[in-house]
Symmetry: C2
Subunit: 342 residues, 2 copies
C-alpha cells in the first residue's frame, strides 16, 4: 500500500495538483475555488488517508518546521524538564524537535550542529559546552535563528536566556550566613562557563559583603564528569573529622554534586544540618525526601524553555525583521527546607 500523494488525489478527481495543493493548504477561498470542488478534494484526501510529505514540502519551501536542540544530557532531569517544555511549546506551533545530548563535549556539539544544519532545521536552541565559542559564533552569523539557554558567551552577540546565577548564589549564601554559619564552602564543577562562574562569584561576594573572608581552600572545583568518589574526597577534606579547617556549611553548585555530597556526608556519620548545613542549586525529587530535605535554588525551567521557543519562532516567522538580540535573565527562588536548620 503506497502512500498517497497530491497527484493521486488530483487524478482521482481529474483536476490539477495545483488545485489540490491550494485547497489542502486552506487557500481555497483565496483562489476562489468552488466550494464543491473544495469539499470533494477534502473528502478524497481523507478517504485516501493523505499525509502530506513534509520532506518534499521542506525541500520546496526551504522550511522544515523542525527545531534542533542541543543540551548536555537528556537523561539529566534538569535538561529533561527543559527539553519537555521546549518540545511542548514547539508542538503547539507545529514544530518538531530533534534532541541531541552533547555531554558538554564541544566535539560532539560540533558534529551535532553539522548534522542539524544538514537536516535543514529552522532554528537552534543550544546549551553550549565550553570551548564551543567558534561553533556558536559561526552559527550566529548564519541566517538560521538561534537561542542559547542556561549559559552563553558574553563576548558573542546572540540571543540567550538564563538565570541570574550570581544573585541566586548570593542569596543562597546569605541564607547560610543568616543561619549563623561561619565557614561556608562551595563545591562546583570545572565547566568554565558563565553560569558556574557566576555562582561561585555570587558566593564570594556574599561572604565579602558580610565581612567574612573568602578561603580558597573552601572552594572545591571538580571535573565535570566527576564520580561519587571525587565528591566523597572533597566532602572529606571539607568536613571530615581529621580536617583542621572544617566547614560548617556547603553550597553545591549542581544537584548531581549535592546528591553525591549528601551520600558522602551520611557515610561520614555527619548530620545535616547539625554538623553541616547545605544549600544546592536545582530541585530534584531526591531533595524532597532525603533525611533532611534540602534548601534549594529553584530555576524557572519551564519559563526558560517556553521563552526560548517563543523567541526562536518569532525570528523564524519574521526572518527579515531587524534582528533585535534578546538577552534575558530570569530570577530564581530559594525554597527553604530543613537542611540549614531552623
Amino acid at each position: 500500500m503506497k502512500k498517497t500523494s497530491l497527484s493521486d488525489i488530483a487524478k482521482h478527481l481529474g483536476v490539477s495538483k495545483t488545485l489540490v495543493s491550494f485547497v489542502l493548504n486552506g487557500k481555497g477561498k483565496e483562489f476562489r475555488i468552488s466550494e464543491d470542488i473544495c469539499k470533494k478534494v477534502l473528502e478524497v484526501a481523507k478517504e485516501l488517508n493523505y499525509q502530506p510529505n513534509r520532506i518534499a514540502q521542506g525541500l520546496r519551501t526551504g522550511r522544515t518546521n523542525t527545531i534542533g536542540l542541543i543540551i548536555a544530557d537528556i537523561a539529566n532531569p534538569f535538561f529533561g524538564i527543559l527539553g519537555r517544555e521546549i518540545e511542548q511549546e514547539a508542538a503547539r506551533f507545529g514544530y518538531r524537535v530533534i534532541f541531541c545530548s552533547s555531554d558538554e563535549n564541544p566535539e560532539k556539539s560540533g558534529q551535532q550542529i553539522a548534522m542539524l544544519q544538514q537536516s535543514q532545521v529552522d532554528g537552534y536552541i543550544i546549551s553550549p559546552p565550553k570551548n564551543s565559542e567558534d561553533q556558536i559564533k559561526a552559527l550566529a552569523k548564519g541566517q538560521v535563528p538561534l537561542v542559547l539557554i542556561d549559559r552563553y558567551f558574553p563576548e558573542i552577540e546572540c540571543n540567550h536566556i538564563a538565570v541570574d546565577n550570581f544573585d541566586a548564589a548570593y542569596r543562597a549564601t546569605n541564607h547560610l550566613i543568616a543561619k549563623g554559619r561561619k565557614k561556608i564552602a562551595n563545591i562546583t564543577v570545572n565547566l568554565d562557563l558563565v553560569n558556574m562562574r557566576d555562582r561561585t562569584e555570587g558566593y564570594k561576594q556574599a561572604l565579602r559583603d558580610a565581612g567574612m573572608n573568602v578561603d580558597e581552600n573552601l572552594i572545591k572545583v571538580l571535573p565535570f564528569s566527576h564520580e561519587n568518589k571525587d565528591v566523597a574526597r572533597a566532602i572529606k577534606e571539607l568536613v571530615g573529622k581529621t580536617s583542621q579547617n572544617r566547614a560548617d556549611a556547603i553550597l553545591f553548585s549542581t544537584s548531581k554534586l549535592g546528591i553525591n555530597g549528601i551520600e558522602s556526608i551520611a557515610a561520614l556519620g555527619l548530620k545535616i544540618p547539625d554538623d553541616v548545613a547545605i544549600v544546592s542549586f536545582d530541585n530534584p525529587d531526591a531533595y524532597k525526601i532525603c533525611v533532611s530535605p534540602v534548601t534549594v535554588v529553584n530555576q524557572p525551567l519551564k519559563e526558560i524553555g517556553k521563552t526560548a521557543v517563543q523567541i526562536l519562532l518569532n525570528e523564524i516567522k519574521h526572518p527579515d525583521a531587524p534582528a533585535k538580540i534578546q538577552k534575558i535573565t530570569l530570577k530564581t527562588d530559594l525554597i527553604i527546607r530543613k537542611s540549614c536548620g531552623s
Copy 2:
C-alpha cells in the same frame, strides 16, 4: 552567504553533478573516477564547506535517517535515560531522533504518529499508551519498522522489548515476605497496560505461593496523573494510625508513587522500615539518599534502549528480509538497601 550545493562544486570544477555525487558518497573507486579528480572534489567540498542537504537526499532516496520516538514524558528520568540511550545508539549509526512525549494520552500519540509519518521517519520506537491499540495495529501493518518498548499489546504481532514485570514483582514481594512482613500492600496506577498489570499479578502470586491471602483492600490503584494528595490518602488508608487493617509493607509499582509515598509516610510520623517496609520499581537518585535508602527493582534501561535501536536498524537495513518478529523480555535485578530492614 548561500549554502553550497552539489552543482556549485560541479561548476567550480567543470565536471558533472553525477561525478561529484559519486565521489562525495565514497563511490569514487566503484566508478573508477581518477584519483586526481576525487581529490579535487573533496578539496573544493571542504573549501566551500559543503553540507549535503539531507532533505533533498531524503526525498530522492526515500530514507531520512531519522527515527521517531514516542514515550510518556521525557522529563521523567525513567524515559530520559531510555531516550538518551536510544539517541546515542541511533547516532552511532548516523540516525537522528525526533522525541515526542505522549503523556500516556492516546490522542496525543495518534497525532504524534501522524506527524512522524509525514516526516517520513525510517522507523518508530514507541511506548504506547493504553487505548492506542488501533494506532499500533495500523502502524505494524505498514512498511515502516516499529518496536515497542516498556509495554506492548499481547494481541498485536509486533516487535517489543520489555522487562519481566511479573517475575520482578514476584521477587520483590518475596523479599518482603522473607523479611517477615505479614500485610503487604501494593500501590499502583490505573494504566491498564500489561506492564502494570503484570506487576500486581506477580505480587499476588507471591502472596498466594507463600500461603498468604490476597486482600483487595491492600491494593490501591491511583489515576495515572495522580498528585501528591492522592498518594497521601492511599498511604493514610493503608498505614495511618486510624486504619484498622494496617499494612506493614508496601510495594510501589512506580517511583513517582514511591517518592510521593515516602513523603506521606514521613508526614504521618512513621518510620521506614520499622513501621512500614517498602520496595519500589525503578531506581531514581532520590532512593539512594532518602532517610532509609530504598530497596528497588532496577530495570536494564540501557539495554532496553540499545536493543530497541538495534532491532529497528536491522529491519531498516533489510527491508525485505522475512520479518521475524522479536519479542524480548529482560530480567530486572533487585537492589537491596535498607527500606525492608535487615
